[in-house]
């Protein structure tokens, strides 16, 4: 620490000396450079956002304005007809409900199970801990696509194809490893001394855990919940293979089958896509400030 402070002192001295000599020239050069960085940054944002803007803009355009050789950059006049068409298509509300049920049930179970495992691996040394962690990492290497066939056959045998429970179980297993790994980083970040001092003050071990560690892990739970929500809400192929009847499907399957025999109707399709993406974006935007830290907690803590 002392060495670091000394280094900072030396650095500050150097900076001061430098400013005195060539202040003006550097300042204008810096301003140009900063402007170049900012403009490039804005260009990146525009390129990334444009497809999403184009979806929303198309969703609000009347049909004649969509099918134009020279596109209209802004929707004018605005219409809600596309959204109405999308919502009125068969099974929309059924599939919204299915998606919500699947994601909701899965998330509650996943957070509970992952939290228990995270506490075990971050707070206790036990035989098999390393083997368990290797399994957690290793399982993430297996591509889900490769398991579709046996998953289908397995669930077929117990009569859980075309049932939400089967999909919930699969999503749970897919999301768990990453959740355990990330939450482990969060729990490990909270000094065990906090718990110990609460115990000295008369808390039981369990009491100390729920009063001290649990509230501090809150952001971690939120970050992993976002991850699980996105994974499950956006998943397509498992739901596509396992859920065959249209009133049992999820929103992504509904969206993917939107194209009619006459080719896609872009207006309603873009409106439907907007509606499908909306819950995720909302969920994400509300909670995103917990996320960046959450990822690295899992990644770097090891």
């Amino acid at each position: 620490m002392i060495a670091r402070e000394a280094a900072q002192g030396v650095r500050a001295g150097r900076v001061r000396a430098a400013t005195r000599t060539a202040a003006a020239a550097t300042r204008s050069w810096r301003r140009v450079r900063q402007l170049a960085y900012d403009v490039t940054g804005l260009a990146v944002a525009v390129v990334m956002l444009f497809p999403i803007y184009w979806m929303v803009a198309t969703a609000f355009k009347p049909g004649v304005d969509i099918l134009r050789l020279e596109p209209k950059w802004f929707p004018n006049p605005i219409t809600f007809q596309n959204f109405q068409d999308a919502i009125e298509r068969p099974f929309f509300l059924d599939d919204v409900r299915n998606s919500l049920v699947i994601v909701g049930v899965m998330l509650v179970l996943a957070l509970l199970i992952a939290f228990l495992a995270a506490v075990a691996t971050a707070r206790f040394g036990f035989k098999g801990r390393n083997a368990y962690l290797v399994m957690i990492i290793g399982v993430q290497m297996v591509p889900l696509n490769a398991l579709i066939i046996p998953l289908y056959l397995m669930l077929d045998r117990v009569g859980q194809t075309d049932a939400l429970a089967g999909v919930i179980a699969v999503y749970l297993a897919v999301v768990l490893p990453f959740m355990v790994w990330t939450l482990r980083g969060f729990v490990a970040n909270i000094p065990a001394e906090l718990e110990e001092s609460a115990m000295i003050d008369g808390c039981t071990r369990v009491g100390a855990f729920f009063r001290i560690t649990f509230p501090l892990v809150g952001p971690g739970l939120v970050a992993t919940a976002i991850f699980g929500f996105i994974q499950a809400w956006n998943e397509y192929i498992v739901a596509y293979v396992l859920l065959s009847s249209p009133n049992n499907q999820t929103l992504t399957v509904w969206l993917a089958s939107f194209t009619t025999n006459h080719g896609p109707q872009w207006g309603p399709l873009m409106a439907a896509a907007t509606l499908t993406g909306l819950p995720v974006v909302a969920f994400f935007l509300v909670l995103q400030r917990y996320l960046a830290g959450g990822l690295t907690a899992g990644a770097v803590k090891g």
Partner: protein
Amino acid sequence: MDMAIAPPDLEPASTRPGLFRTRLLPYALVIPSVAVIGGILAFPLGMLIWLSLQHYGLRELIQHQGDWVGLGNYGAILVDPLFHQVIVRTLLFTFACVALTVVLSTLVALLLQRVSRVVRVIVMSSLVFVWATPVIVSVDIWQWMFDYEFGIINYLLTQLHVGNFIHHNWFDNPLQGWSVLVVVVVWGAIPFVTITVFAGLLQVPSDLVDAAQVDGAGPWQSFRYVTAPMLKPIFLIVICLSTIWDFGVFNQPYVLLNQRPSADYYTIAIYSYRESFGVTQYGLGASIAVLMVIVLVIVTLFYVRETLKVAEIQ
């Protein structure tokens, strides 16, 4: 900085005498996750291998009983020229996507460090938006943007005098079609990688970079010799995950080509799916899936080993 701090291990908990309950507690805590992961992922993985050694078609599905063929499925697949084509194509596609994703994301992350606060918030929000967009939604968007008749891409390219793209169908030519798929995948992958790398960059002490610059290092040198080595664990994880995701890509080609992709647009995952559910040869499909996992393990082995090494050191 806190990368170096070891996670607290409460060894005393297990060594405290007489606490039989505490000694069993960690096992009780991990059992639910082991049960779920084992039951839903490990068991099917075993079943996949078993299935790949059988002739298992529609008749066998109804009877719940396959015909043992040993390595017959593998023999059939390995001499199939389409399989060779598909695997080479999937590997090239994965390489292109991962390389582009990591390079572009690192550049954006470095840029994020240098822009002013307002711009950083704007760029971050745009990344978050893209990140949250479901893959199926993004596929629909890009399909619309690359539409041969009214797509905005064709219009823009024509307006910018890149060439005459009016009524240009991007999927007639597989090379162009795959380029579109790379764009779709990389666009969707950039946010996660950028935000992860950026979060890592924040942990690189600025003193170190400053010191390198005082010692005369240029921007490239200070990145190459100071920043990049400190970000190694993050790069490893990001490359490893991207490789797994991109190698198993299914949704983008499948949905972009209206759920009826021609053989030119098969990835290994689509090929396996087609053999299983299209022509109901579950045994053949399973053997393709096993080969897919094997190739993936070989490709990612290096990253996994390095990642575990980094995790152990900490």
